[in-house]
Structures are given as C-alpha cells and as structure tokens.
C-alpha cells in the first residue's frame, strides 16, 4: 500500500511538471495547446531511442530538449498567423499526426510495441528505497520548474506574456515581439514537458504511443482547469487530485467487477466529468489566478 502511494505521488509529480508547462502556455500566455503530449512524447522517445542506441540517459534528455525546441519554434511561428483556437486545433492535429507516425513506424520507433527496456533509475536498490529516491528526484525537478514558472510570470517577460494573452495589439504597441515571446515560452515549457517525458519513460521502463493519445492531453488539461488556470500552485494541486482520481479508479473498477478495458473507459469518463463540472460551474478552478500586487 505504501508503495502504491509512492507510485501515485511519483506519477502526480511527473504530470504536475507537464501541467506547469501547459499552464505557462495556456494559462499565462493564452496559447491553448491541445497537443501538449507532443512535448511529453518527444521526451519519452528521447529516452527510448537513447536506450536503443545504448547511449546514456543524458544524451536522450539533451536530444529531447533540442527536438522540443524545434517543435516550439514551429508552433511559435504558427501562433503568429493563426488566431487562438485555430492554433489550438493545429497543435492537436500535429500531435496526433506525430503519434500516428510513431505508431506505424516499426524499425526506428518500435511501432505499436514501443521500446522496452528503458533503464530504471536506481534499479539496484530495494523497491521501496527506489521509489522514494524516484519521488525525491521528481519533486526536485517539479520544484525547479515551479520556481522558474513563478519567477517568469512576475518579470517584464511575464507581463508581456500576460498582456498579449488578453490584448495582443496593446502588447505589440508597447514593444513586445508577439511571436518572440510566444516562441520563448513554448521553448521553456516544452523543455519542461519533455524532461517529464524522459523521466516517465525511465520510471515505467518503457516508451510507447499509448501515453500520446488525446486522453493524456485531456488529463493534463483537467489538472490545469481543476487546479486553476493561470495559477502555477493551483495546477500542481490539480495534478495531485486528478492523478489520485486516476490511480484510485482502479479500485472502483475492481469493486464493480469490471474488465480492464471497461475500467479504463470508466476512468476517462470520470476525468471527463471532473473537467466538465469545473468548466460549467467553476472554470477558474480551485485556486484561481489572482491579480499581482507589486511591492516596490
């Protein structure tokens, strides 16, 4: 049971990092990225391919961050020519296209089977110690990402992001390069999501396309919306709550005597209902974004 809770917390912190990244895009910058799994997947496949090529994990991480940067440059460029939700649907289509390519490509990406045998961190240690160490590492990564996020939001760069989120023309008239600031935040948050993907692949010792489906995107979005879109701390809270809902739905499935297939469907329905409920009744989330008071 203790191991189960540790596992839940590790997964919650992994997805909290992705959610903090998504919040920097969707919440802080008004970039509704419906393909956030793209960055996560780039990380996971970075780890998988490094394993396959017998390279150290650091190479996988570095490669993943580089590819994520390239993806961010493309999405940033598109943000200049596509208005908000149009850009959102483009990100969804691009992420889905990449998933389908990975799914169908056997020789390099492992196709539907994915890539197994990704090295476990701290594999030589006993299970419980291993999980605790994983959790500590992941919490440290989360803390760094959270600190970066909080710090950035309050700087002039953050003001540029938040002003262009609501009033792009005003931001441009005050000297803020719209495509530049958007691309910059996509690179930063994309790197966060990619790092989370690298760690995730190592943690579950596997890289595959099943985590790149729309269900993952909607799960991360639910974390952001439930926690409070625009509020980094809220988003972490949302990640913890939704991951708990996700992990414990297994017991509900067992109690109702459902097949694994149906349990998975039930789980997605539960998350869909949570998202739906918050959208209709409290769309600013549990910890809403607040106006920033400046002391100086």
């Amino acid at each position: 049971m203790f191991n189960y809770i540790l596992d839940l917390l590790v997964l919650a912190s992994i997805f909290a990092v992705v959610a903090v990244g998504l919040n920097l895009q969707a919440g802080v910058s008004g970039l509704p990225n419906f393909g956030i799994v793209l960055f996560f997947g780039i990380g996971a496949y970075g780890a998988g391919l490094a394993t396959k090529a017998s390279l150290p994990w650091t190479v996988g991480l570095l490669g993943a961050v580089l590819v994520a940067t390239a993806a961010a440059l493309l999405l940033g460029r598109l943000s200049g020519s596509l208005p908000g939700t149009y850009w959102g649907i483009a990100t969804l289509a691009i992420a889905e296209a990449v998933r389908v390519i990975l799914f169908n490509q056997d020789s390099v990406f492992g196709g539907a089977q994915g890539i197994g045998g990704v090295s476990l961190p701290f594999a030589s240690l006993p299970e419980r110690t291993r999980l605790i160490l994983c959790l500590l590492v992941m919490i440290a990564i989360l803390a760094v990402c959270l600190a970066i996020s909080q710090r950035l939001i309050g700087t002039q760069f953050g003001r540029a992001l938040r002003l262009q989120r609501e009033q792009p023309e005003l931001a441009a008239s005050l000297g803020h390069d719209l495509i530049g600031v958007r691309t910059a935040i996509l690179i930063i948050s994309g790197a966060m999501a990619a790092a989370a993907g690298v760690f995730y692949a190592h943690y579950i010792a596997y890289t595959g396309t099943s985590e790149l489906e729309m269900a993952t995107t909607i799960t991360v979005w639910t974390m952001v919306v439930v926690g409070g879109i625009g509020n980094s701390y809220g988003v972490v809270l949302g990640a913890l709550l939704i991951q708990t809902l996700y992990s414990t739905s297994r017991f509900l499935g067992e109690a109702l005597n459902l097949s694994a297939d149906r349990t998975a469907s039930l789980r997605i329905m539960l998350i869909g209902f949570a998202l739906f409920g918050f959208l209709m009744l409290k769309n600013d989330g549990l910890l809403p974004e607040r106006l920033r008071k400046i002391r100086a």
């Binding site: 002039q156 953050g158 003001r159 540029a160 002003l163 005003l170 008239s173 005050l174 920033r292």
Partner: protein, 261 residues
Amino acid sequence: MLEVESVGKDYAGVVAVAEVSFGVEPAESVGVVGPNGSGKTTLLNIISGFARPDRGRIVLGGREVTGRPAWTLSGLGVARTFQLPQMPARMSVLEVVLAGARQPVSASPLGGLVRLRRSRAELAGAVERADGLLERVGLRRLRDDPAASLSGGQQKLLNLVAALIGDPRLLLLDEPTAGVSPPLRKVLVGVLEEVRAKGTAIVTVEHDMAFVSEVCERVVVLDGGSVIARCAPSELHLDEQVVEAYLGKRRADRGTRSEVG
C-alpha cells in the same frame, strides 16, 4: 524626425489611403483631421506598424522603416494609443503601465531568471516612474485595480501613460479626447505640453477641433484618402475645400457621438 512619403493602402480593392505625404519635426505637434472614412486611422496604423502600406515609404530619423512590425517600431521610439483601448482584466493598472516600460534585462526570459539584482533594480525604477505618471493623470489610487475595470476615459489615459513610460520620440494619438471627461481632458492637454517640452513629436488624429487648436501647431486635412489642405488650426475655417468636405459632415458626427457617449 518622421517623414511619410507618398504612402497609400487599399483594402480589398477599395482605396483607404490614396497618397499622403507629410513630415514631423522633434517637439512638433501635428493634427490629422478629416471626416470619418478619410483614412486617418489607417494612416496611423501604417505609421505605427499595424498595417503595411501598399505604396510609399515611412522614414524615421533618416532610416527607412516601411512595413516593420509594431514592436520593432516601438523599440525605435514610436508609441501609439488606440481610439478604444481594451485593457486586460487579469492585470492591474500598474502592471499595464509597467508593461510599457523599457526593462531589457527582465524582458528576456533568461535575464529575468538569472540577473536577479539587475531586474529588481529595473522594476523599482519603473514602478517609481509609473506611480508618478499615474499620479499625474489621477489614476494612482486605482493602481492595484484590474485594468479592465476602469471607465472608457480612464482606460484611454492608462493607454497614454503606458505609451509614455517608454519615453517615445514620436507619439501617435488616435482620437485622444473621445469619451474623456472635461477635467481629464484638461489634464491630457497639460501632459501633452510636458511631453512636447521634452522634445517628443506628436501626431494626433482627432475630431475635436477645439482640442486640435489647443495642442497642434499644424494640421493636415484628409478627405477620401488624400491630403486636401495643410494649414494652421486657426486657418481651417478659411479653406473652402475643407469647409465643404469636413465641416459640413462634422455636425453629423457630433450628433451620432452624443448618442453613443
């Protein structure tokens, strides 16, 4: 300082600006007047980088800047205000003003993360200046309110303050008085006087003739996208073409404005 050379623009085959040329010197204040649809706002958009001209050149301080994006021009010292500025709901009044300040270190993501002391110093300086400017236009006590909660007139003054905190060399104003109450209008005239005294050139697109006479030395009259007259504000009523094209329609404009406002 600013040279507008034979600039023209069409929208979907309709001529918005036919061919307009004029220049502005430092510390000079020029009014651009004309009936609705004469191309005034399009011209302002072209000069400030929000629209790309189909013909002609824009030269700023001896350097051609035609077709540069708005943010580049802002970096070169061009600031503008909007006719009906929309302010963000999730930022405070003070933050909107700060967004207009020049804070090179903390405007770059890496600088803001790493060079903590420098960016803190930048912020402190900007806050002091912002408070001074907000005080001047009577918005200081609202500095921590959501910017979108201000009245229309207050939002226009906020837009002006955010444009001024970056110390522009050229200030472009799009109907600065529309929707602004008489006491605030007086403040506006005073602020523009101070800005000019510091050497900033001002181009004002305006309907309110009294305001134009108060703050502008020269006016350029547009009709149908072309310049039909250039004169001092006091000579406007002497020009027959202007009276015909513009003053006749102005009364109608006033009528609709009072209905709206």
